[in-house]
Symmetry: none
Subunit: 236 residues, 2 copies
DNA sequence: GATTATTGTCACACAATTGTAATATAAGAT
DNA sequence: ATCTTATATTACAATTGTGTGACAATAATC
C-alpha cells in the first residue's frame, strides 16, 4: 500500500503547516482544509485514510463535522482524531459519544501525534479494510486483491475491482452515477456520465465470465432506471 | 442524472447575473428571482435542488422566506445557502436557528461559492436518511429505490415511483391533479390533465400486479370524483 | 523500448418510459 | 331514462435512458 493520506482540518495556518511537516517527515501524505466545508469537499476529493480534526473550528463546526461523518454510512469508517486544546473531560465524553477514534490534546509532541495516528490506522485497517466480503460464492478479498467465484479467480481491471468493492460493501442501495464517481474515482475528476455504464458493463462481463455457476453473479449488479445502479442479492 | 438546478434569490440584477454565470460555468442550471414571492413561485415551478438566498432582501423578507421554507413540510428539506454581506455572528446564529444549511459572506469568490454548493448538495444527497415507508405489506424504500409487496419486488417506472412516494408520504389527503403535477413533475411543465390519470392507472396496475395478496393494493389509490386522488388505507 | 492491459469516450443499437389522443365506462344531474 | 360530465382504459409515436462494441490514448509490465 502507498503512503496513507491524512487530512488536516484546522483554521490556523501555522498549525496546519506544522502538522503537515511533521506528517511528511513521518512518511505520510497530507492535505489540509480550513473549514468544515472544505474538509467535506476534501474528503470526497482526496479520500484520505484519516482525518485530524480541530475541535474548535469557528462556529463550533468541528464537532458537528465529526458527527456528520460518523453518521453517514459512506464515511463512518473513516478514522478521526480530534485535536483539542482543552483537556476537559467534557470534551472527551462528548467526543466519544460522536464516535471519534482518538484524541490529541494541544500542545502535543510530533512523536505523540505520529504514534497515535499509526495506532489508529493499524486498528482500523486491521478491522475491516482487509476483511474479505462474501456474497454467496462470490468473494472479494482486499488483502490479496482478488475476486473469486466458487474459488475460481475472476479477472478484472483495477477500476472494476474498486467498483465491485464499493458495491459489495454498500449492498441494497441505489447510487447515482455521480455518487459512484465520487466513491470510486474521487470527486475531482471529470468523467462522461456514460463512462460509468461502460465500467458497469465490464464488471458484469467479468462476473458473468465464470461458467457453470448456480447463480449469475452479473445479475447482482442491477440497473435502476432513472436512478443509477444497485448491488443487490434480491431479484431486480 | 441531470445537472442540479440552483435558484438565485437576490434583488440586485448584477449579482444575479454574476452568480448565474458562475453557476453555469460550473455545470449547474440556474433560475433567479428578485423577491421572496417570486422565489416561492420559482420553487414550485422549477423544483430547484438548492436555493441561494440573499439575506438582505427588501423588507427583510430573506430570512422570513428561509423560515417559511424550512417550516413547510414540502420544502423543509430543500437546502438553503444564505448570502450575507455582514459577517456578524448575530446573523449566523439567527440563521442556524432557522435551519439554513450554509452561509457565504459577500464578497465571495466564485470558487468558494461553487465549492460550498457542491458540499451542501453532496451532504444533502448523501445523507439520505429517508426511512422506508410501509403500509401493510407494501413497502417503499427510497435508499434501495425499491417497492415490494410481501417482499416481492414491484416493477414500475420512475414517474410511478415518485407518484407512489408522494402518496405514501401524504396519506389520507386528496390532491388535485394540479397539485400532484406540482409535486411529482414540477410546476413548469405543461401536461394534459388526462396524463395524470394515465399515470394513476399505471401505478394501480403495478400495485395490482402482485398476485395472491390478501389486500388489493391498487385500491389504496382512490379516485375522489371532482377533486382528484387520494392514498388511503380506508375503503373508498 | 516493446508489448500488453487498462481507460475513457464515442456512436449506434436497443429497450423502457412518457405524454397524448381516441375511445370506453362510470357517476351525477335533469 | 337520458344527458352530461368525469374518470378509466387502451394504443401508439416520440422521447429518453441504458447496453454494447470499437477505438485511440494512456499507463503498466516485461
Amino acid at each position: 500500500m502507498s503512503d496513507p493520506t491524512i487530512l488536516i482540518v484546522d483554521d490556523e495556518p501555522a498549525i496546519r503547516d506544522m502538522i503537515g511537516i511533521t506528517l511528511d517527515l513521518a512518511g505520510f501524505n497530507s492535505v489540509s482544509a480550513e473549514t468544515a466545508h472544505q474538509a467535506h469537499v476534501a474528503i470526497v476529493d482526496n479520500r484520505p485514510d484519516l482525518v485530524l480534526l480541530d475541535w474548535m473550528l469557528p462556529g463550533g463546526s468541528g464537532i458537528e463535522l465529526a458527527r456528520r461523518l460518523k453518521r453517514d454510512e459512506l464515511t463512518s469508517s473513516l478514522p478521526i482524531i480530534m485535536l483539542t486544546a482543552k483537556t476537559s473531560e467534557d470534551n472527551k465524553v462528548q467526543g466519544l459519544d460522536v464516535g471519534v477514534d482518538d484524541y490529541v490534546t494541544k500542545p502535543f509532541s510530533p512523536r505523540e501525534l505520529v504514534a497515535r495516528i499509526k495506532a489508529v490506522l493499524r486498528r482500523s485497517s486491521g478491522n475491516q479494510q482487509d476483511k474479505a466480503i462474501r456474497v454467496f460464492d462470490l468473494q472479494l478479498d482486499p488483502s490479496s486483491h482478488r475476486i473469486t467465484i466458487e474459488d475460481t479467480p475472476v479477472d478484472m481491471g483495477p477500476t472494476e475491482f474498486k467498483l465491485l468493492k464499493f458495491f459489495m460493501s454498500h449492498q441494497e442501495k441505489v447510487f447515482s452515477r455521480d455518487h459512484i464517481q465520487d466513491q470510486v474515482w474521487g470527486g475531482n475528476v471529470y468523467l462522461e456520465e456514460r463512462t460509468i455504464d461502460v465500467h458497469i458493463r465490464r464488471l458484469r462481463k467479468a462476473l458473468g465470465s465464470v461458467e457453470k455457476t448456480s447463480i449469475n453473479y452479473a445479475r447482482l449488479v442491477q440497473t435502476v432506471r432513472g436512478a443509477g445502479y444497485r448491488f443487490s442479492v434480491k431479484p431486480a
